[in-house]
């Protein structure tokens, strides 16, 4: 396995981590602001996180 591929995959995973972190953080803030909408926010958060996660797996499979 070449080193550039590994470094690239690592960068993608860092990006995915930051992305999912932001999604989770924003969802927390949104729940804090609107506790009543907890269920809807959680659903939207999970879908968005799943979509971002797919990109991370694409990078891992390139390695």
């Amino acid at each position: 396995m070449e080193i550039p591929v590994m470094v690239g995959a690592g960068l993608v995973v860092i990006g995915v981590g930051m992305g999912i972190g932001r999604i989770g953080g924003s969802a927390m803030e949104a729940i804090g602001r609107q506790p009543d909408a907890y269920g809807k926010i959680q659903t939207a958060m999970l879908i968005a996180a799943a979509l971002v996660e797919g990109i991370g797996f694409a990078a891992l499979f390139a390695v």
Binding site: I47, G54, A58
Partner: protein, 366 residues
């Protein structure tokens, strides 16, 4: 209901008792003495792949023989005529099986037709050149799916029957599953598909949710099955979503794909836009189920790889530090995997419902 479950357990026990056998195979010493890291890698790859028999564990005895303990499964091949034999005859690729007037041998996880001496020819890139017959075998994955399907059948039949008997109140294990069924109806199907049409999609959504969830959970048991981490299985599930979405698509669904702008523009203004828009929309029909299949496959595959690699750490460290570290990490990941097993089933059902919602939509025309 306990009666039905008892019946199920007795069938299961019978299955185990009849088929539980011991296979003895001479060890290939040349391979076993290889590099430790390569060996662990091979072990993980072997675990991720489907197998012809349900081997539970294996060990090498004092006389250098490799003993496999497990359940052999039927091998079904179509090669001009039907060939059916037990997978124990394959002896993990060490012996040639004579069936009818043809000979078969297992090589790197696939069955090939050979001559009586069992020679496999390889090309430059070390792929077998022999003819591979059409393989319809009941493999480990297929057997697990049949097991889960049977379990689900008895479980939900008994849940449905308990409503009849008790007048709308579930009993036994149904008390655990009823809220989940209601959650899928009220939180997944209704908001995404709509109050009017969600009924006809419910059977698929419930089946696919419990099927994926149970198979994911089965993958976490020490049986070592990896069904939802098999791209063919997730392909099949995503294909069903694809077919249901497109076969139940309303006029508005197809109009949205082939005429997304509707009457908001003159026809000659739409032409240059549609050169780009329509191919994107048509591609979208295929990308949606494709992302479903890749997500489930990759998540389960990655989970298994991480878990097996952490267990492999124990053999790499070879010190007092290795075992607790390996155990602790593997335990923590197992707990996360329990969550992932449920989450992936939920996401698959949720996104399927979302796509069905697109297919079932009906606009009010202005």
């Amino acid at each position: 209901m306990p009666l039905v479950l008892n019946k199920f357990y007795s069938i299961f026990t019978l299955f185990i008792v009849i088929f539980f056998t011991v296979n003895t195979v001479q060890a290939k010493d040349a391979e076993a003495s290889g590099d430790l890291k390569t060996e662990i890698k091979e072990y993980i790859t072997h675990h991720l792949e489907d197998a012809y028999d349900f081997s539970l564990f294996s060990y090498t005895n004092k006389s250098g023989k490799h003993i496999y303990i497990g359940i052999p499964l039927p091998v079904i091949l179509w090669d001009e005529e039907l060939h059916v034999f037990s997978s124990s005859k394959l002896h993990h690729g060490l012996e040639v099986v004579a069936s009818g007037n043809k000979y078969y041998k297992l090589d790197h996880g696939k069955i090939y037709r050979t001559d009586a001496s069992g020679i496999i020819f390889y090309d430059e890139s070390h792929h077998a050149k022999n003819i591979a017959p059409l393989d319809l075998s009941i493999t480990k994955g297929v057997a697990s799916m049949i097991l889960i399907a049977t379990l689900m059948f008895f479980l939900f039949r008994s849940l449905a029957r308990s409503y009849e008997k008790n007048g709308g109140v579930p009993n036994g294990i149904g008390r655990f599953f009823e809220p989940i069924v209601l959650y899928i109806r009220d939180e997944i199907a209704r908001p995404n598909i709509g109050d009017k049409k969600h009924g006809k999609y419910m059977s698929f959504l419930l089946t696919v949710f419990f099927f994926i969830w149970f198979l994911n959970m089965l993958g976490l048991t020490p049986l070592g099955v990896n069904v939802t981490g098999n791209i063919a299985v997730t392909f099949g599930l995503a294909l069903l979503t694809f077919l249901i979405t497109n076969l139940t698509g309303t006029k508005d669904y197809w109009l949205h794909i082939f005429d997304p702008l509707g009457s908001s523009m003159k026809w000659f203004a739409k032409i240059p836009l549609y050169v780009i828009l329509i191919p994107i929309e048509v591609l979208g029909i295929f990308i949606k189920p494709f992302s479903l299949l890749i997500r489930l496959y990759a998540n389960m595959q990655a989970g298994h790889i991480v878990l097996m690699s952490l267990i492999g750490l124990m053999f790499i460290f070879k010190s007092w530090l290795g075992s607790p570290l390996s155990f602790g990490l593997a335990f923590a990941i197992s707990i996360i995997e329990l969550l992932v097993a449920l989450l992936q089933a939920y996401i698959f059902t949720m996104l399927s419902a979302l796509y069905f919602g697109f297919a079932a939509e009906e606009h009010e025309h202005h």
